[in-house]
Symmetry: D2
Subunit: 329 residues, 4 copies
């Protein structure tokens, strides 16, 4: 039997990073290596340092960056130069220009030379470009669900864009990361629910780019659910050119035929968080009020799996030529 | 000192009814009397039966019906005839015609003769009619928040009605009542989030009536939050004729000047459930993207207080000539 | 490649049964068949009826009964006669005599003729008897953790039995089953914690039998945690004949050497629910106050896995000669 | 009408301090004044500084210190010298000697000269000393419940002390304070349960002092519940000299006759967190296995009310000669 390829994980203590470790530990073809990038880490002696020497010594084929964008911008270049391919889970390389990054992330982009070759890693829409990519920008959690729900409808021309699309998004607390803060402390979150970054969330431009929308056409609100994991988005639009909800479902079924991680619900069934927890699935459900054309799509994913670590493994599978679902079912 | 007036409560074991008991127990001017309408109630010997004789014997001034609509339709007439005024917390008397009731509640209205005199009890909009009412229909929990958020904007003419209004509503589990069901069991609700009655919730027509909206102009989704109490609604529309978010806030501040239970947040602050829990307040916050006119209003109430028992006490205070906030602050 | 053996599952809608389906679906050697025992089941047409004909037609090697004890007593005999071996997840066959069953379950035992051949399925203590068993009584959730924690200490003679052993047990809500009840409804459980069956829980006699304890030596309280799954037990006793906590740990390490599902924590580390969730592990941790001999053992399992479905699969693996961990890691 | 007395609150941002503000805001006889002791507080301009000048200028009768013990040791002296009486909610002045403090709090006591006059503020046992006290040490949350449950039984001589008393304690997360930490973050606490400070919690010596127990006689474990507030303690002992559970209940009923905040449950009823949430009550319930003498007492309080702010107000009422329940029912 052939040995497993080694892949590196930076940021393995965070929620996305820990989920990556968990998924890769049971992956049949690769073996995860933890890379320590914190200079002050008390436990660092137990892990390899995150530097080019480690990449070369361990012959790391892929390095996952489960780090904040400012760290990813710093690390991606050296990892690539040392010969690894990179899957970055941060927002560092998702937008196409340094200007867009600066506008939404309120900070300068410190590795703009890498933006040109960064490939957006939403396999359902960019599958053909991922196998050859050196640097894959793993999509944000909110945009993954939103783009999967919205883009097929726009492609099919059934959305009245002049009325706008509303995406009311709710996320579990792990989406805010593992760093302690009052906003994510138990006593503040439990028995509570709150909105944040209304209309201005940094994930908005990803959806605009993937779907070809203008900002004025897309209203997005992020909200914090008292659950650990999961994203559910309720998406509203005016449908045109369809006669029944089955017409909308047929658009998804056609577009996603053969997609291993998209589940389109029968009419009358609505996705919820529980059904996608700890899975790489995106569940989609449709409601249409025929007389008025008002339509509602509900999309659900696990923010740490299809919204982060699972999709990163899906991208790695494509990059390395494995079956796309290896280690994910 | 004058003795306290006696008021009856039917349905005191439910969540709304129990909240009523709690509020009325500390009310300075009235004394609650529990009325048993379940014939098979094991504990019924401890409570008065719910019948006209009890109303007369106890000289009940007001009877609160915290019962399902079919029970309220059965009880309201006899209570009125026995001389009590009635505050009904169900949906039985909120809509204006038996046809509307039948269409949304999927059952015939069995007391249509009472609909003409029923007064909708949303004090912020119907205050002048409540003191003289014999039968007050206490508003639904979802419509309370939605109407308080939407109607002032429509009155001010700042909503582009052609684009429609989206109301994405989330409720704590107590809104589903206390009767055990799989849908409200801990293991199904915890770490979950789900939508139901999409576009077809029976609370929709109340909002349409109060706000003067057409169904095609209003998209409403109800959703179940893993919290015990609280409703938060995120409301989207296109604003016209306003230049800044402060213009929207000014509409609320003017309309609700002097209202004891409406709190309009400063620009940049967003309501959450925690701040309204166990209170009769409705909190309102506004976000506006000036260049595009996209606007988001967040409204929060405690579904058991301003959305049910608290508002019922507010109505009773108006009916009996007490200070509107008595027992509620 | 050899085909998979078919195994039946009765009670697949309950939490333990659903967990069994999930585990067996990914088991490499068996294929689950759902058996419908509810005569009125609306969906029954989709499943085979639970009767001897189905067992024979499908050649079911093993049938799992994830049913209440009164149903298990009714079904076990016919399943055995039809040629299947049975793993029963209820309490029906865990105690040795019909009298003990009647005393603790407050109902007569209706299949006493099967008690003699029933084998208690706690592999860590009864492994040698399970491969040859026709009828395995899968242990209760509370007794699994308690017996694994206590019996090695008693065998080693380090417990001052005259002072008694206290087992303070806390369980997630799924332990109460899926049938809706007020006690397990979200609004009653969330933000709450309560004790039940104090000193009289029906799981007590299992622990007494496995550990060879007298009832007067063992104080047990069951408590309901506001979590979906998991059991944590805090066990107190006076230690004799040990000098350090490491002596206690050494007892576990020796006794459980080679056990795939027992993890003994290093001194200073304490088990919690999160670490065992969705796993078949039992985690054990020890604290000892050397001067006084006061000792505390903390044991944690997932009540639906090691406390039910996972242990049932572990027993099936032993019965069918598979690796004990197949489908469980 | 006489004006309200002013009382100061230091540490008003913490959970106990915020609860104090809430309680004192509705107290009929006093008016809270917020005192800022953080030098770097961004909002400090809005509050008076915490120093002797503020105490004198505002004529503060009482100052509540809802601060960590090291801060309380620093502030208590200056507040007393400036003429205020002090209720300290920390552990700074609960133990009788600097040596005991140093042993359990792992830090030197920096105000040992105040220990002699500090009065332990558990009204049910020290009521007579509180009215004249200048410095009241408000009891810890765990010891409040434990002492109220255990001491009457020891006084009545019904505990077999040689077998030891076990107190298995569970607390909501607010007991850990408001400072963000990984241990109290939502994703670590939700769906989890864990023990900490096993046998070594710093609250142990308070119970020993109040109850007159030796450390070897008392085994205490603290545990973190996934709820915001509440403490439930399950207490095990061998009863001697009692024939029925009613004998145990009678001990409580006699000892606590007339106590406004102690509720002894009827036999068969067990306290839970929900019943005491947001109240100053301590609920007690008893189970006894008559043949063996094994006894279990369950005690429940709200850790922020009877376990902190509520008891502090109760102490203040006693110090200032008000009715003991003023502002607390």
């Amino acid at each position: 039997m052939r040995g497993k390829l080694k892949v590196g994980i930076v940021g393995f203590r965070g929620y996305s990073g820990a989920e990556l470790v968990r998924l890769l530990d049971r992956h049949p073809h690769v073996q995860p290596v933890l890379l320590e990038h914190r200079e002050d880490a008390a436990e660092s002696a137990r892990h390899l340092p995150c530097n080019p020497e480690s990449v070369r010594a361990e012959k790391l084929t892929v390095v996952f960056l489960a780090t904040p964008p400012e760290v990813s911008m710093e690390l991606a270049g050296p990892m690539l130069e040392a010969g690894a391919r990179v899957v970055d889970l941060s927002g560092a390389f998702r937008l196409r220009t340094p200007e867009a990054y600066a506008a939404w992330y309120k900070a300068p982009h410190t590795a703009p030379e890498l933006l040109a070759e960064a490939t957006y890693g939403l396999p359902e829409f960019c599958r053909e470009r991922i196998p050859g990519a050196r640097l894959v920008a793993n999509p944000g959690c909110y945009p993954t669900a939103a783009s999967l729900a919205i883009r097929p409808l726009l492609e099919a021309g059934v959305v009245d864009r002049s009325s706008g699309i509303v995406c009311d998004a709710k996320s579990g607390v792990s989406g805010a990361g593992r760093k302690p803060s009052l906003k994510t402390s138990f006593c503040e979150v439990a028995e509570n629910f709150s909105a944040y970054s209304i209309l201005k969330h940094r994930h908005v431009p990803e959806v605009l780019e993937v779907c070809g929308l203008e900002e004025r056409e897309f209203s997005f609100t992020a909200q914090l659910l008292p659950v650990a994991r999961g994203i559910l988005e309720t998406i509203y639009f005016r449908a045109v050119g369809v006669d029944t909800p089955h017409d909308l479902l047929a658009i998804y079924e056609t577009r996603y035929a053969g997609e291993p991680f998209i589940r389109v619900h029968h009419h009358g069934r609505v996705p919820d968080l529980r059904a996608v927890a700890h899975t790489n699935f995106c569940d989609l459900g449709v409601t249409l009020d025929v007389p008025t054309g008002r339509a509602v799509v509900v999309a659900a994913i696990d923010n740490l799996v299809k919204g982060a670590a699972g999709q990163a493994v899906q991208n790695m599978n494509l990059m390395l030529g494995y079956g796309e679902t290896e280690g994910l079912l």
